[in-house]
Amino acid sequence: MKSGKTSVFLNGFIKENPILVLILGTCPTLALSTQAINGIGMGLCVTLVLMGSNIMISALKRIIPDKVRIPCYIVIISTFVTLIQLLLQAYLPELNKSLGLYIPLIVVNCIILGRAEAFANKNSVFDSMLDGLGMGLSYTVTLTIMAAIRELLGAGTVFGYTVTANLITPMSIFILAPGGFFTYGCLIALMNKLTEGKAKEKRAADKCMGCAAAQLCSQAEEGGAE
């Protein structure tokens, strides 16, 4: 039993890493990984929203009618996002400013809706909380690592501390848009290399499996082919 709970928690780190394996929530990942501190801030916001919405959805899973579940989930999620937004405005106005538009956009972040669909509406409240915590923290860790890499290469600093800025001229392209796509692509490739052979079933997850809209996407893809 104990190991079951741990695996629910640890699942998010390697096997179902939301950023590098499930490829969820790409937009804020690319946009906010310019500074390590933003990575942590955004990651923790997502973790809180994810835990809150997972607990709530799991607790209400018998009450929410199946047909209108997506709108119900969106209302629950946006409530938590608004709470976080108000808290940030009150206590961390600096962070709120640098995360900006991407705070309200957590609502449409597919990690959260994806976990609600894939996990919270089938599992117990406690498991859903663990899943939210694990997914959220792995999102935070991955986002922070990616942001640290970009910050180091692009500005020569990590968490605002100067590391290589005096030794090598920073390649500022890395904190601009193209560097974001490039770093992300390379990290995914690295992850593929490291987990190759270990997780064969992961291949199927390559195409945004965890996203709530994945099925629609592939339908649209096929629909356009005829």
Binding site: C27, A31, P178, F181, F182, G185, C186, I188, K207
Partner: protein, 198 residues
């Protein structure tokens, strides 16, 4: 007039939603394999973006602001957008079956597209007037279309090439997107020079 032109140009090129602002990446990666589906999706996005702005701008300025409940913005906007998309779908099915056939499958996808919510929130944050908001949304939609169009072409080339195994799939797509994004960076100075110097 100059303002309006600048808003559109900036939204299409310099602040391209996909390649510079990173909004709507999921459909950009997910539905860009074939040109027809990429175009269908983008046209639906342009359509919904403009309509969503037409719906959310009055809500913000006539309901939320006078009542002092600006904090309901996120919740209300996403619900309005979701309802709007549903309504468009029903309406299209009834009165424009031909259009529904070509765009219908993309509509439900758009509800969870962050570019649509993003453009609505940005219009409010930037303090644009109603007309300018509509122009900005239109420009952003066209920018999305342009990025999708270019990238669908790039991807059809990528798919037929061979590259190291770890890079297969999303990784190579992202690296290609990075190069496309690089070319769009060139526009950022252009807009300032054309309109700033006038």
């Amino acid at each position: 007039m100059k303002d309006m032109l600048m808003i559109i140009m900036a939204a299409v090129l310099a602040n391209n939603y996909v390649l510079v602002r990173f909004l709507g990446i999921c459909p950009f990666l997910g539905v860009s394999k074939k040109l027809d589906s990429a175009m269908g999706m983008s046209l639906a996005v342009v359509f919904v973006m403009v309509l969503a702005t037409a719906a959310t701008w009055p809500i913000q300025h006539l309901i939320l602001d006078p009542l002092g409940i600006g904090y309901m913005q996120t919740t209300l906007f996403i619900l309005v957008i979701a309802a709007l998309v549903q309504m468009i779908e029903v309406f299209m099915k009834k009165s424009m079956p031909a259009l529904h056939k070509s765009l219908g499958i993309y509509l439900p996808l758009i509800t969870t597209n962050c570019a649509v919510l993003g453009v609505c929130v940005l219009n409010i944050d930037e303090g644009y007037s109603f007309v300018n908001s509509l122009l900005n949304s239109f420009g952003s939609g066209v920018g999305f279309l342009l990025a999708m169009f270019l990238f669908a072409g790039v991807r059809s080339k990528i798919e037929t090439n061979e590259y190291p195994k770890p890079f297969q799939g999303v990784a190579s797509t992202l690296v290609a997107a990075s190069i496309l994004s690089l070319s769009f960076m060139g526009f950022s100075g252009m807009i300032d020079n054309i309109f700033g110097g006038m």
